[in-house]
């Protein structure tokens, strides 16, 4: 396999890992943010956590794998992005830590204050993750100051520009909607109806910010100059997908509503990665200094080895993770006998 083919393949593979991460962990973040607002009684909160309890940890591994794959396939991308976005990533890690530990610890003590604290940590941690990832991705699309030595020359506040923050707010809003449609799908009884009602409010916000983000993507990035691949009508399709979700939510077709939001997330990410390609980090200082799949990648040998490993293990992972969704497909009730966390 040619070097160029392998570099392209790994760009696609990392895109797939991110898409997988956002599709799976997206609703986990949404459910986490909604937890203290939607669940009023303790067993309600437990039921909400139980909808994702069995799978959130496996979903998060998609992020770790995306990180590891970036390190292995594009060391310069990994080095520039992780050191450049230092404080943002530090906050992301803190968000992941407090949220992860809270899932495991909140039900292991009966003290209401203990549980209340961990419930809020789940919500705050999930919010931080969604906000930071959204901000980071829109900054990647917009470009960040990178000098001739592949070094990021900005700081945390460089990332907090209006377009970056809009990306963060959009990711939070979309994941909230994604979470509420997921909960409508997974819960029973009154709690399910509450989630459904919430979806009706959340989609208004989500639809507005998505339309705004799509609009400003054309003014704030080089998407229209087509330096990357022209994503064509993909961004438009992403906007349509979220509007279609509205239709299904109103008709109480929560399965289709959930799929529409998922489709929106996929199309948004596809738009993002096509806009980027073949660049992985766009320099605002000089287009020549951008990191691309060609100047940021590992050697041909490493990419070949990693391709073989991925070819063997990715299908295996998909099969057993798919199986876990199958065994935990049933709705969750607030009956205490069936709750785990």
């Amino acid at each position: 396999m040619s070097y160029e083919f392998l570099q392209t393949l790994w760009f696609i593979l990392i895109a797939v890992l991110w898409i997988g991460f956002f599709i799976l962990e997206g609703f986990d973040f949404g459910v986490g943010m909604l937890l203290p607002f939607l669940g009023k009684k303790d067993e309600e909160r437990r039921a909400i956590i139980n909808t994702i309890g069995s799978t959130w940890d496996g979903n998060e591994v998609w992020l770790l794998t995306a990180g590891g794959a970036t390190f292995a396939a594009f060391p310069h991308w990994y080095a520039t992005m992780f050191s450049g976005f230092y404080l943002a990533l530090f906050l992301l890690v803190i968000g992941l830590i407090i949220r992860g530990i809270s899932f495991e610890y909140r039900s292991k003590d009966a003290n209401p204050k203990w549980r209340h604290t961990f419930d809020w940590m789940i919500a705050i941690g999930s919010f931080m993750c969604a906000l930071l990832l959204g901000t980071a991705f829109s900054n990647l699309a917009r470009g960040v100051p990178i000098n001739a030595d592949m070094m990021y020359t900005g700081n945390l506040f460089t990332l907090l520009n209006p377009f970056g923050l809009l990306g963060g707010v959009t990711m939070v809003s979309v994941f909230l909607l994604y979470g509420s449609t997921f909960l409508t799908l997974k819960l029973e009884g009154e709690l399910r109806e509450r989630a459904r009602e919430l979806s009706k409010n959340l989609y208004v916000v989500a639809a507005i910010v998505v339309v705004l983000l799509a609009f400003f993507t054309y003014t704030s990035t080089d998407i229209s100059t087509k330096i990357g691949i022209n994503p064509g009508s993909t961004p438009l399709a992403a906007v349509i997908a979220i509007l279609v979700a509205t239709f299904f939510i109103n008709r109480k077709m929560e399965g289709w509503a959930f799929l529409s939001v998922a489709l929106h997330i996929v199309l948004t990410q596809v738009s993002f990665f096509t806009l980027m390609f073949p660049r992985v980090m766009i320099s605002t200082l000089n287009p020549e200094w951008s990191l691309t799949i060609y100047n940021a990648s590992s050697s041909q040998y490493t990419l070949t080895v990693m391709s073989i490993v991925a070819l063997i293990f990715v299908p295996i992972v998909l099969v057993y993770q798919g199986w876990t969704y199958y065994i935990f497909r049933k709705r969750i009730s607030t009956d205490k006998k069936t709750l785990v966390y």
Partner: protein
């Protein structure tokens, strides 16, 4: 402090903290899987309780290991970007493989194990805990192969154009003896850590005459595993030392505060160095023993720190190639002494299980042994990482050239304080829960979670 020192401090603290929880996860997973298998075979309710009880402690510990592991994967790029650029071609591969083959396995099947008991066939549920154990231990293999490469680089060339290390032989990386020696040493240490937790907790309950039969079974199992594991830790460590003598002579000499080349070389029982750690003030040494440790004979030459420093200056240019001897020397002695104590104790406990030990007065003090493996494990990591200084990759890249050049002192203080605070709170919550579940015993662990009156949370909203 300068950015380099802060990044080193942060990496050291987060790594040692992460590794407080990892060995117990590695070892205890096998115990839980074993107890559940015994229940599956015998239908003895006691084994079911044991699975639940030790499983609960396993989960409380596992959670912290997982969340602190995220930091580990990210901070290579965050704090050591030049390292990541230099070795990404090689070091990234085992890391990505670890995520793909091990993290997915352990986290997915842990979810299945916690939630799946009533949803899948019993055999599949049993298989899931075994897969968790395999996944966790497999992840140790890949991360130690990655670390082994930093200690003893193999299968690479330096690209003349880019100045980066590039992988040319993946097989050499995956079979690096350094990594595999670390692996066996760590797996055995994990089993020893879990054994000592079980020994300590069981003794606590046996002494209080609670669930005596159940905890005697646990105690006996753990003493046998503990003895075998701590013996394997010793042999693994010894072989590791001999390999280090060949591949990292400076680390070997620094561990022994062995300044002058000699044959036969004496083993230091106590050496007091001066404040720089570069010179000894006073020492008590046993003749020829170090030669024996290094190469199994009493006369071989062991090169000293001063000699190797001179050689490295000739080889790599001017600089200080001597690690901080006070750390390498004492961390090794702490690790080794505790290792011997653990071997001795597990042997004595095993002997005791042949008699009526459940009424013995000394059982009251046994819970304190839980602390031993933690001290030894931390010393081991400090030793192996500090001993490689000033190198981040032995002979190829120095730590000072590996740090992210863009980070400011403010960035680093924020993250360092942030990690310390969050990790501190996590430790308090974890110790609180561990203690609570240990004291509550197996009957409490049979409940999936602690139930509370349903309206308590609601009344606060």
């Amino acid at each position: 402090m300068d950015p380099l020192t802060l990044s080193r401090l942060q990496f050291g603290l987060t790594t040692v903290y992460h590794f407080l929880f990892v060995p117990l996860t590695l070892g205890l997973s096998w115990f839980v899987a074993y107890f559940q298998t015994r229940y599956y075979q015998t239908r003895d309710e006691e084994f079911r309780k044991m699975t639940k009880f030790w499983g609960k402690l396993f989960l409380i510990n596992f959670a912290i290991g997982v969340v602190t592991g995220i930091v580990q994967e990210f901070q290579f790029g965050m704090n050591w970007s030049e390292y990541s650029r230099y070795v990404g071609d090689i070091f990234g591969a085992p890391l990505a493989i670890e995520a793909l083959t091990s993290f997915f396995l352990e986290s997915t099947f842990l979810g299945v194990w916690i939630f799946g008991e009533t949803k899948i066939p019993e055999k599949a549920h049993l298989a899931s805990i075994w897969l968790v154990a395999v996944g966790s231990n497999l992840s140790a293999l890949w991360i130690l192969l990655a670390n082994g490469w930093m200690q003893h680089p193999v299968g690479y060339v330096i690209n003349e154009v880019t100045g980066r290390a590039e992988l040319v032989d993946f097989f050499a990386l995956a079979t690096n003896p350094k990594g595999w020696l670390f692996f066996w040493h760590t797996i055995a240490a994990g089993l020893a850590t879990a054994s000592f937790l079980i020994i300590g907790v069981s003794a606590y309950h046996i002494f209080r005459k609670q669930n005596v039969s159940l905890f005697k079974t646990s105690f006996q199992t753990a003493t046998i595993v503990g003895l075998i594991a701590s013996t394997l830790v010793f042999f693994g460590g010894h072989t590791n030392g001999q390999y280090m003598f060949e591949t990292q002579p400076m680390k070997f000499a620094a561990i022994e505060a062995h300044y002058e080349t000699s044959s036969p070389a004496p083993f230091s029982i106590i050496t007091i160095g001066d404040l720089t750690g570069k010179q000894e003030v006073w020492s008590w040494r046993v003749p020829a023993v170090l030669s024996f440790l290094a190469c199994n004979n009493l006369t071989c030459e062991v090169r000293g720190v001063d000699d190797i420093q001179a050689e490295y200056v000739a080889l790599y240019g001017p600089g200080d190639y001597v690690p901080l001897i006070v750390f390498t020397y004492w961390s090794f002695r702490i690790m080794m002494t505790i290792g011997f104590i653990m071997m001795g104790l597990s042997f004595l406990f095993l002997l005791a299980t042949r008699g009526k030990y459940e009424n013995a007065k000394w059982m009251k003090w046994v819970p304190w042994v839980i602390a031993l493996p933690y001290l030894a494990n931390s010393s081991g990591w400090i030793l192996t990482e500090m001993g490689r200084q000033p190198w981040i990759v032995q002979g190829l890249l120095k730590v000072e050239d590996a740090v992210s050049p863009n980070l400011t002192v403010v960035d680093l203080w924020i993250s360092l304080i942030g990690y310390v605070v969050v990790y501190g709170v996590l430790a308090i919550a974890m110790v609180y829960l561990m203690k609570k579940y240990i004291v509550a015993g197996p009957d409490a662990a049979m409940h999936e979670s602690v139930d509370v009156a349903p309206t308590l949370v609601g009344s606060q909203d």
